[in-house]
């Protein structure tokens, strides 16, 4: 008595092969959907904005006349903002990840903390904006400054960096730790000489992706009350400023049609910044991976 009967197998063969092809097609359609939407978006933005995009657009301040409007204050403001967000969020985030992965003992409290950091990554950005408004703008009296906005943005992306760094650290094989401990290295030496070098590609990739989220984020800046039309550049961290997404948001909501095109030009600048940052992330990941 055989359990597998050849004629039944052959009868079902066609059906199996068809379902195999159908599923392949479904997955292909799903992928194309994303690619087509992205392509349409890019086409619309570039065709609308390219006319307004010239060197003057980069070097001019905002203006009531669409032809004269420029993105200088917003671009420089976003760079100032990043100069706060990057060090604060990466230093705090990586330190937290190291503590949670390498030092914290397995107990209920630490499991609770770990779980909630992941949850924090999903909290809407406007909530972080309100937190920043209460603490940094009002309580600490930083007003609508680069510092207040930078710290708020740091809080916003901190959970993302922590989770990315935790995953990178966890991916370092235990044998590597054992090898180091086995030679009498302390925990700190093991972290600095073995774990961080092995985890750095993952940490940097996660951090840069988180930073590019921060550079495109608008809601917290709106809540903090960052101005949009500025005719000067900030000179210090307690000065007020404006940022790329704020400027784009302001242009997009204006009634004149020409400003829609200015907004598109602004989006192109923002996307160039984002794509540059993401390319750096990919470059770093590939470069370090080659070495290991």
């Amino acid at each position: 008595m055989r359990y597998i009967q050849e004629d039944l197998v052959m009868k079902r063969m066609n059906k199996r092969l068809i379902s195999n092809k159908v599923w392949k097609f479904i997955f292909f359609i799903a992928t194309s959907f994303a690619l087509v939407s992205l392509g349409m978006l890019l086409y619309r933005i570039i065709s609308q904005g390219i006319g307004f995009l010239d060197w003057e657009f980069i070097t001019n301040f905002a203006s009531r006349i669409p032809e004269n409007a420029g993105i200088k204050a917003a671009l420089i403001g976003s760079l100032w903002l990043m100069s706060v967000v990057a060090p604060v969020s990466i230093i705090l985030g990586v330190s937290t990840a190291i503590y949670l992965e390498e030092y914290a003992k397995q107990n209920k409290l630490n499991d609770f903390i770990r779980m909630n950091i992941s949850n924090l990554a999903g909290v809407p950005s406007i909530v972080f904006g309100l937190l920043g408004l209460t603490i940094f703008v009002r309580l600490f009296g930083f007003e609508k400054s680069i510092l207040a906005a930078g710290l708020t943005m740091s809080l916003l992306i901190l959970p993302v960096i922590i989770v990315a760094a935790q995953e990178a650290i966890r991916a370092v094989p235990n044998e590597q730790r054992e090898a180091s401990f086995g030679m009498g290295a302390t925990k700190w030496q093991t972290i600095v000489r073995v774990i961080i070098p092995a985890a750095i590609p993952g940490i940097l990739t996660g951090s840069i992706l988180a930073l590019s989220r921060a550079i495109g984020e608008t809601a917290p800046l709106v809540v903090i009350g960052i101005p949009v039309i500025l005719q000067f550049l900030p000179t210090g961290y307690l000065d007020t400023f404006t940022a790329l997404p704020m400027q784009i948001f302001d242009w997009a909501k204006r009634p004149q049609e020409a400003f829609q095109y200015v907004a598109s030009a602004g989006i192109i600048v923002l996307m160039v910044v984002l794509l540059t940052m993401n390319s750096i992330a990919i470059f770093i990941r590939n470069k370090f991976q080659k070495r290991y």
Partner: protein
């Protein structure tokens, strides 16, 4: 000293050797639990200077746990609890104030799976000396050469010290790990199934190396492979279910074991 006496008077050699070989590591009624699992029960063993002590036994008998207790690597598992003592040169390694970093500088370890760092061969060997504070390039160079020679791999890698250790074969990687262990100039070397991931030729090289290394170091080796224990060790301990069933000269264990279970195991009746 031993050698001089040997040359003058061959008959005194054996006597002197026995006297001069002191006990390096000793465990007295050592017990270990993983949570509620009693993994090692009243282990009494001693390892002598310049000898190879093999630990054999079936999977799950506690042999790996025991060797990891000897340099307290077992403590990396958070639920581990111990009782009794293991002493290194007369000092209880589990006593308060005995720092693991100090112990592991004296009691080095080679692991089951070759685990070089993803760094150059040079940086792998220099890792230990560097963590102990040696920065002088000339001294590091000398340590690297001496350690690689000690692990019989100098000639194979001397022209590519700056290449990543991961580019080497598994057997070479394992000898790099042995060299890395030698670089901290340990007193005892623990080897946890060092050849189980290697091909027969690499295994043979590591075995020859162990024979050479015992001139300078005391070696404890855990092995799955009974022929290996018979080939390279001076004494053999047979572990079963967390207990030492028999501990004796390797020749005795493999020719006339005193316990029936030892005989069953080495004759391949179980395990």
């Amino acid at each position: 000293m031993v050698q001089i006496l040997t040359e003058f008077n061959g008959t005194r050699h054996a006597v002197h050797e026995i006297n001069s070989k002191s006990i390096v590591m000793q465990s007295n009624n050592f017990n270990l639990w993983y949570g509620s699992n009693h993994a090692l029960k009243d282990i009494n063993l001693n390892m002598q200077e310049n000898e190879v002590t093999a630990i054999i036994g079936p999977s799950g008998c506690g042999k790996s746990t025991y060797i990891k207790a000897l340099n307290r690597m077992v403590e990396l598992v958070p639920i581990v609890r111990t009782a009794g003592e293991i002493s290194y040169r007369g000092r209880n390694i589990f006593a308060n104030g005995y720092e693991v970093e100090e112990l592991r500088t004296k009691v080095g370890m080679v692991f089951q799976k070759p685990n070089p760092f993803p760094k150059s061969i040079y940086d792998n060997i220099a890792y230990g000396p560097r963590i102990h504070g040696i920065k002088n390039k000339k001294i590091l160079d000398e340590i690297v050469e001496k350690s690689l020679r000690g692990a019989a791999i100098w000639d194979e890698v001397k022209d590519r010290l700056n290449e990543n250790a991961y580019g080497l074969s598994g057997g070479q990687q394992q000898r790099i790990c042995i060299a890395r262990c030698l670089a901290i100039e340990p007193d005892v070397i623990l080897m946890d199934e060092p050849t189980s991931a290697l091909d027969p030729i690499s295994t043979l090289k590591v075995e020859e190396l162990v024979q050479e290394m015992k001139e300078q170091y005391s070696i404890v080796i855990v092995t799955h492979n009974m022929q290996q224990a018979a080939r390279i060790s001076d004494k053999t301990a047979f572990f079963l279910n967390g207990e030492v069933i028999e501990f004796d000269q390797t020749d005795t264990i493999f020719s006339t074991p005193s316990d029936q279970r030892t005989e069953d195991y080495i004759s391949g009746r179980f395990g």
